[in-house]
């Protein structure tokens, strides 16, 4: 089949970089700087040798990055080719740094391979379930995995570095007891939620096309939290054994870090859609404050929970602790998720109707009630599976996803929340038509 040329071209197909890209770059630079400065302080003040490896990784990858940049700039004269090569090199080198830091974290966990092997399936399943809940438009796996990877590697590294500093400088002068516990809880809440939140903020700044609303914010936030929880489980298992796996990968899988960072994601997701800079800032700040508070409440107040001496009762009391302390925050996340899905659902229904009314053929009037309902979409795919087999099923799934992408784009455009030229929407429409008529582009 012949390749289809896009029907529309923007006058300037590559618009200028919005300021948020520079903000994201500054944020990423601040993360690296914090890692380097924090590691040096830990090394000098605490004589913590593990941070030498963190520093070494950052320096090596930094030097290789600089060298790669020099070579690409010298060799690639055409801006488009240069940009592509720089992007590929940037991704590869970020992965290299991530793998290095993961190795250091595993070393910190006493190379607890059993912990990794046990925690991977549970964390993977949780990521799969959370992604599936976002039934209108599922986020791409690559971004979900980047979010979880950040939580497991970057956020944990920063947390270890700065919590050690807090423990040395602030906790070191405190009286052991409730005061110290409160201080340690503040430290954990603030120094773990901040690096986790940065991941969601970076996705919000850079991947705006894949960050629609509060629902997406919760999904990305929970993914970062699950990644953090994965690494924390592996580290804690190296000291506390199999019990830690039960607590962190079963009882507290969705209730701990996943819930806290989902609250940050919810705030950022609301900021995506609320008009006005002040309201956006308030939404982001609110999400961050409640996430820190939820984390603090768990770490500081869990010790007041009754601890029965009877082993059976103790076993029952642990899930009860999760429900009482983390449960309300989990419910709050669930409420916002449902509210977000409802808003999204109403918008999808409205925009599907409007798109069908244009007569473009991307959405047919009789398709509207089907595409708007996840259950009916699934039913239609199953009918296709029985009549046309797997290829038919996959074709309809691609068509439905492209239609949903198109109507969500329409929704953002109607709400003046989009920076891209109209060409992007027209391309999405072309894509739907190409799938519908079986044209390969």
């Amino acid at each position: 089949m012949a390749a289809v040329q896009p029907l529309y071209q923007a006058a300037n197909p590559r618009p200028h970089r919005p300021p948020r890209y520079w903000l994201a770059l500054a944020l990423a630079g601040a993360v690296v700087a914090a890692m380097v400065v924090g590691s040096i302080i830990d090394l000098v003040a605490l004589k913590a040798t593990i941070v030498v490896l963190d520093l070494l990784g950052v320096i090596i990858v930094g030097l290789v990055t600089f060298g790669t940049w020099l070579v690409i700039v010298a060799v690639d004269r055409r801006p488009n080719v240069r940009r592509r090569h720089l992007v590929v090199a940037g991704i590869a080198l970020s992965l290299a740094l991530g793998i290095w830091l993961l190795g250091v974290n595993l070393l910190y966990a006493g190379l607890n391979v059993a912990g990794v092997l046990l925690s991977l399936p549970t964390t993977g399943l949780a990521l799969y379930l959370i992604r599936r809940l976002d039934y209108n438009e599922r986020e791409p796996w690559r971004l979900i995995l980047v979010a979880a990877g950040w939580g497991a590697v970057v956020a944990t590294t920063l947390a270890i570095i700065f919590e050690a500093m807090w423990s040395f400088s602030i906790d070191g002068g405190l009286i052991p007891g409730p005061g110290l516990q409160v201080s340690t809880a503040f430290s954990a809440a603030l120094l773990e939620e901040t690096p986790k939140g940065v991941a969601v903020l970076l996705l919000f700044l850079v991947m705006r096309n894949e960050f629609d609303d509060v629902v997406d914010g919760i999904v990305y936030g929970a993914a970062v939290g699950l990644g953090f929880n994965f690494m924390e489980t592996v580290v804690y298992m190296s000291v506390g054994g199999f019990g830690q796996w039960i607590f962190r990968q079963w009882l507290g899988l969705f209730l701990g870090h996943a819930t806290y960072t989902a609250l940050i994601g919810a705030g950022i997701g609301v900021a995506r859609q609320v008009p006005g800079l002040g309201r956006k800032a308030l939404a982001i700040l609110s999400g961050f404050v409640i996430a820190v508070a939820a984390h603090f409440a768990w770490d500081a107040w869990i010790w007041y929970f009754p601890r029965p001496s009877d082993p059976g009762l103790l076993l029952l009391s642990i899930p009860a602790q999760y429900l009482v302390v983390d449960g309300p925050f989990f419910v709050a996340v669930a409420v916002m998720f449902v509210l977000g899905l409802r808003i999204e659902g109403r918008a999808v229904a409205r925009e599907l109707g409007l798109e069908a009314a244009t007569g473009s053929g991307a959405v047919l009037p009789e398709e509207v009630p089907v595409v708007v309902s996840p259950a009916r979409r699934f039913e239609a795919r199953m009918r296709m599976l029985s009549s046309r087999g797997l290829p038919g099923y996959l074709w309809l799934r691609r068509l439905q996803r492209a239609q949903l992408d198109l109507v969500l784009e329409r929704w953002h455009r109607a709400r003046l929340e989009i920076e891209e030229p109209l060409e992007a929407e027209l391309r999405l429409r072309d894509k739907v038509l190409a799938i519908r008529y079986g044209v390969r582009s």
Binding site: D213, V214, L263, P275, S286, G287, V289, A297, W303, A332
Partner: protein, 164 residues
């Protein structure tokens, strides 16, 4: 248009702002709790001297051997404090804490420093008869005010490792 845009997301915006306010209350309670247990204006600049950690003979109540920085789970240990460096009337105590959760693992005081001079050895009290669980134990000398610890005068840690 901004009003319409806000109207669509207003419930979820109000919800997150409400949660943020709840978060401020929670953190405020935490701060009050911290101030209660760590009252300000209690710094005297006094410092106690922890002389070291030793094997401890429970029968005679004395320390033996050389000072060590780690012990086995089967060994009994005690910290030795030079109480004479502190003002005699100062209300002080020395306490052991286990792990990161500051669980009390024995100690002496609160009492006047002069009354503790006769008790320089402060044994670690294992939580069970099966020996001392492995981990890091911290010994802290505290100044008291109205029977409440208000200032750390010295702090030192010792490691208990597995193996019999």
């Amino acid at each position: 248009m901004p009003d319409e845009r806000l109207a669509e997301v207003r419930p979820v915006f109000r919800f997150i702002v409400g949660l943020g306010a709840a978060g401020v209350v929670i953190l405020g309670v935490g701060l009050l709790q911290f101030i209660n247990f760590e009252p300000s204006g209690q710094h005297t600049g006094l410092q106690a001297r922890i002389l070291g950690f030793w094997d401890y003979d429970q029968k005679t109540g004395t320390i033996t051997g050389d000072s060590k920085d780690h012990f086995k789970t089967t060994e009994q240990l005690a910290a030795e404090v030079d109480w004479t460096t502190l003002p005699p009337d100062l209300l002080v105590g020395g306490h052991w804490f286990s792990g990161g959760f500051a669980l009390d693992a024995g100690g002496v005081g609160p009492a006047r420093a002069r009354d503790l001079i006769a008790k320089p050895a402060v044994p670690l009290r294992p939580p069970s008869d099966r020996g001392t669980p492995p981990g890091r134990y911290t010994f802290v000398v505290e100044r008291y005010y109205r029977d409440k610890p208000v200032e750390v005068l010295a702090r030192a840690s010792v490691l208990v490792i597995g193996g019999r």
